[in-house]
Amino acid sequence: MKCAQARRMFGAYWDDDSTQAEREWLESHFVGCAACRKEYEEYSRALEWVAALPRVEPAPDLVERTLSRARRAVPVADHMPAPGVQWVPVTAAAALLVVMATLISPWLGLGPGPRVASRSPERNAPEQLAPATPAPSTLAGGAPVPVPVAGAKSGSEPLASVPDSLFDHNEDVEFILDPVTLRRGRASLTRAPAGPRGERAVITF
């Protein structure tokens, strides 16, 4: 146990990096332990050999050759970033991506959650929707109204004129084709106009 402890102290003893108490303890151990003394002699001899290795001299023309190569080398601009600041833009970009993904995912139909339709300025304008006929329908005043066709793309048109296929028709969304008027989330049945039941629906958001 003492010998193992002594041998662990060889490095610090050689480097003169041990405390006075450690040095005295180790030297007193050497007096009584020939094996450790011999071990340390071998240790120190090996390090003396290493320290005594001759210095390798560089080639005499190394300076000229180095300068010649350095002249041809293109310097690199100072691009060392300040330490500890890199995480700020990375975190900001990640946060922005998360927010954008959260906002966009309902429109892409990625999430299983409820669909949320954004409100347009024309949300209070009553609109008539053709139920199932592919032919364009008209408003009471004769203005053409877009027909909700599945798969239609939304362009730069106002939301009111965008076919409602924009809102993903999954099974969790149910459209009531009976004449219904929705006012601020409160549904009330209206009298169906003349014609087949469910022909027209007035939906107001």
Partner: protein, 187 residues
């Protein structure tokens, strides 16, 4: 170094002159290859010149130079290991046999210079067989004489790790030199 960053070629030449011997020795001892040492030393200085604007004022130039040199030497060691083109164990044993013969013949009046050169060759080869991460710490400490703190900066590791690597390297080296040490150190 500030003048080097401002395109002062004379200042750069002065840096090369001042540090070329230390770097060449470091690289030569790490690789145990005298011929390659000049090329790698030159490469160190070219990199310093190319990246001179990245030098952080206030940090020690020698630490930066030793860091680049140690990294280049480590790359070279790894490249050689991949190519299996380095000092093999058989070659080391051959050197030991030869050196043992030289040392045995020393009593018969062999030239002491030859004996010393042979010993140096054996020690250099033994250092080259120490695993790279221990070898770099050993050479920086026991050949270049760097302080533990500076070695920690050069290698980018904590001071405690430097100490343990150096202790491990010394123990490995001693084991490799054991046949010669037994002859040298009388019981």
């Amino acid at each position: 170094m500030a003048r080097v960053a401002e395109e002062d070629e004379r200042a750069f030449a002065e840096v090369v002159r001042r540090y070329q011997a230390r770097l060449a020795n470091l690289v030569a001892r790490l690789l145990n290859d005298r011929e390659c040492a000049d090329d790698l030393t030159q490469e160190v200085f070219v990199r310093v010149y190319v990246h001179r604007r990245n030098y952080r004022r206030g940090s020690k130039l020698s630490t930066w130079l030793f860091t680049i040199a140690a990294n280049l030497a480590k790359n070279e060691i790894r490249r050689r290991v991949r190519r299996r083109n380095w000092f093999s164990l058989d070659a080391l044993q051959e050197v030991f046999r030869d050196s043992a013969m030289v040392l045995a013949d020393s009593t018969e009046g062999r030239d002491r210079t030859l004996e010393r050169e042979q010993l140096q060759q054996v020690v250099g080869s033994a250092i080259a067989t120490v695993p790279e991460k221990y070898r770099v710490a050993l050479v920086l400490r026991d050949i270049e004489g760097l302080a533990y703190e500076e070695i920690a900066l050069v290698l980018g590791i904590p001071g405690g790790t430097v100490r343990s690597r150096i202790n491990r390297a010394r123990a490995l080296l001693k084991r490799k030199l054991q046949p010669l040490l037994r002859r040298e150190v009388a019981p």
